[in-house]
Amino acid sequence: MESIIKRNNVNVIGNGEQVMLFAHGFGCDQRSWQFVVDAFTDDYRVVLFDYVGSGKSDLSQYSSAKYGKLEGYAQDILDVCKALSLRDVIFVGHSVSAMIGALAAVREPGYFKKLVFIGPSPRYLNDEGYTGGFERADLESLFEFMDSNYLGWSSTMAPAIMGNADRPELGAFLTNSFCATDPEVAREFARVTFFSDNRADLAKLTIESLTLQCDEDIIAPLTVGEYVKANTPNNELVILKATGHCPHISEPTATIKAIKAFL
């Protein structure tokens, strides 16, 4: 148990009995929940964590073999549930975490009571008869952007050139910055996220779920939200009046309201 707590930098706050587990999206860590968690801590026991490779998780536990698939991240969620002996969890997942949570809930439904998906997308790439919003070239261009902003910050010379393995001072910088994801891990996480296809998993969900969708989100367009609603048993779709992909950051009040209404 100790090892999981440390590995995933698990933090438990709040006074309630009912557990809410918040899972951050790609490129972020648990601090991205800071604008919404306070609204729940009076009534709920709030569990926050970082995926291995993100935030203040134990980077040494990262392995491409495990985290080269979303199932590896789903295992992190199940590990946290098991380590804390959680039951009937209300799971809140942002972006790729929505699908990671869905995978976890398909595998071990016993842990979960309700699922909240914020800006979910079962598949980012367009496909025949399906609009995910992206072509492969769009994603390659994103990866280039990530590479040239290797450390999420590029005021020093040629960060992509420096490499970072034997530069601990860069590591120290990373842990102090937001979106503290190791660059190599981020690169792999991005590929896993954007090339995943979990459309078939939606139908296997038995747990009641809510989809929160911004009305102007280039990463998860409205069509994707509608697809999730149409293909997931027991799913409710709420469209937020917000631009962007992170309503819990840009529109926390509306987001809190929508989640509370669902609970």
Partner: protein
């Protein structure tokens, strides 16, 4: 001038609007949904747009590629909301002309009283030159990495132990073979660790030589024994060469350790052989010279009764010398690869019978030949006879009390096997693997059996050239069977 006056002057001189518009960097302000509400001339000129077609119409994201937009949504916006500012990000802006403009993009969030972001102030600086420079560096680094991998691959491929040291002799690189030989974990090895693996008899000499070379900068070449991970010592030739900078300073020492163990052992064996051979030749030669001295004295009296016996003995010793020199010549031919085989079909039984003639006449040995009297084989009859005679001679020499010998031959599936079996004392098992080695002589306590130890080596080589095999089956107290095989098919 009073400070009041200075202030007034400054207000008159500094036109902050002009500074904003004409700044060497781009300034832009946009709302949370990206709508541009203020932008300076510099940035507009980079983008190729006018203020009229931009303000309140375009969003910041409109100037980004789709990938850039994802990055903006997934990284920039959350980061700005949480941290309040974003340091320089490397972004690409798409201009009206369809070109790409590289900028460093930093931003500060403007928040309302509740901490909610209401607008973003951003500064963009021209990053074109740096991008270009980075690209060049990246290419150079990739090239260097590639070269390094190639060299590493080569270094790991050679059978030598390869290493480099700093100018003062600390090891800073070892190749895979090196790590393997010493079983070094993690490929790190200090000079002291290396020194402890040198044979203690060689260590002091090496330390002196190496210290000397490090001081004067001359190449090193030194033989020593190195202990491998099994605790065995193997002879190595250690070479080290200094690598100089353009300023003639030593940058590094490049070194290798080549396994010369077999070579060293062969040399030792050869030395031993030369001493044995000299001794073997010296004995009959000394005897011969003594007889010749006697004959010298007897030459005036040719009818002396002992004369005949002396001549016989002289002949015997001359023959002995002749046969020793013959053996040496044979070995010389074999090592030079000059042994020619004149193959023909011949009857094995007849050949074996021939071989026995001399033993039958000179020694009281009963010899039985057992095998199909019609069987023929395709081989060099003269050479095979040499081998069989050698086997027989060995039997007579090492098993003199045996009294009888059996020479048998038979046809197996793929070859013909000929064995010479005695009833002698047998050969200890541990000696059998070395019997056919060059320069090997059975240690028979008190050198009562003379010889160069070349006979069986020559036999083995002759049979090998025929494509056959040689071997010994022996049991202590019962006897030995020396055998050879010859392939049935033309080899």
């Amino acid at each position: 001038m009073t400070s009041e006056n200075v202030k007034e002057l400054l207000i008159r001189v500094i036109d902050s609007e002009a500074l904003y518009q004409q700044a060497p960097c781009g300034y832009i302000t946009f709302t949370t949904d990206g709508t541009i509400i203020r932008i300076n001339q510099t940035l507009l000129s980079w983008l190729g747009h006018t203020a009229e077609e931009t303000l309140y119409i375009k969003k910041f994201g409109d100037f980004l590629s789709k990938g850039g937009q994802i990055h903006y949504e997934m990284f920039f916006r959350p980061m700005l909301n949480v941290s309040g500012s974003v340091k320089e990000l490397s972004y690409e802006l798409h201009t009206k002309q369809g070109t790409v403009f590289h900028v460093l993009f930093g931003a500060v969030a403007i928040k309302d009283d509740n901490g909610q972001v209401i607008a973003v102030n951003a500064i963009l600086t021209d990053n074109t030159d740096r991008k270009h420079y980075e690209q060049e560096l990246l290419l150079a680094r990739n090239q260097a990495e590639k070269e390094k991998r190639n060299l590493q691959f080569l270094a790991d491929l050679t059978p030598d132990l390869i290493w480099t040291t700093t100018p003062d002799g600390e090891i800073d690189y070892i190749n895979a073979r090196f790590a393997d030989y010493f079983q070094v974990p993690g490929r790190t090895f200090t000079q002291d660790q290396f020194l402890t693996r040198i044979h203690q008899d060689d260590r002091a000499d090496f330390i002196t030589a190496w210290a000397d070379k490090l001081k004067c900068g001359d190449p090193l070449s030194h033989d020593l024994r190195l202990e491998n991970h099994n605790g065995e010592y193997k002879w190595h030739l250690v070479k080290s060469v200094p690598h100089y900078s353009e300023q003639q300073e030593i940058l590094k020492w490049f070194g290798s350790c080549t396994d010369i163990n077999d070579h060293k052992l062969a040399l030792t064996k050869k030395d031993e052989f030369i001493s044995v051979a000299s001794h073997e030749l010296k004995t009959p030669l000394t005897t011969l010279m003594g007889i010749l001295q006697v004959l010298e004295r007897l030459k005036s009296n040719p009818s002396a009764p002992m004369l005949g016996e002396f001549i016989d003995r002289a002949n015997k010793n001359a023959k002995k010398i002749n046969s020793l020199v013959g053996e040496l010549l044979n070995v010389g031919q074999l090592t030079a690869g000059q042994l020619r085989l004149n193959k023909e079909y011949f009857n094995i039984h007849e050949l074996l019978d021939n071989c026995c003639q001399y033993v039958r006449t000179e020694h009281a040995f009963e010899i039985v030949i057992d095998g199909d009297p019609e069987l023929q084989v395709y081989a060099d009859a003269g050479r095979i006879e040499q081998v069989v005679v050698n086997y027989i001679n060995n039997a007579v020499k090492y098993a003199p009390n045996s009294g009888s010998l059996t020479i048998s031959f038979s046809k197996l599936t793929e070859d013909i096997k000929i064995s010479v079996t005695d009833n002698g004392p047998g050969i200890p098992e541990e000696k059998i693997p070395y019997l056919f080695d060059r320069f090997y002589r059975i240690d028979h306590g008190g050198s009562q059996y003379a010889g160069l130890g070349l006979g069986l080596y020559i036999c083995a080589e002759i049979v090998k050239r025929h494509g056959g095999r040689v071997g010994v089956d022996s049991e202590l107290g019962k006897g030995s069977a020396f055998w050879l095989t010859l392939p049935i098919t033309k080899y």
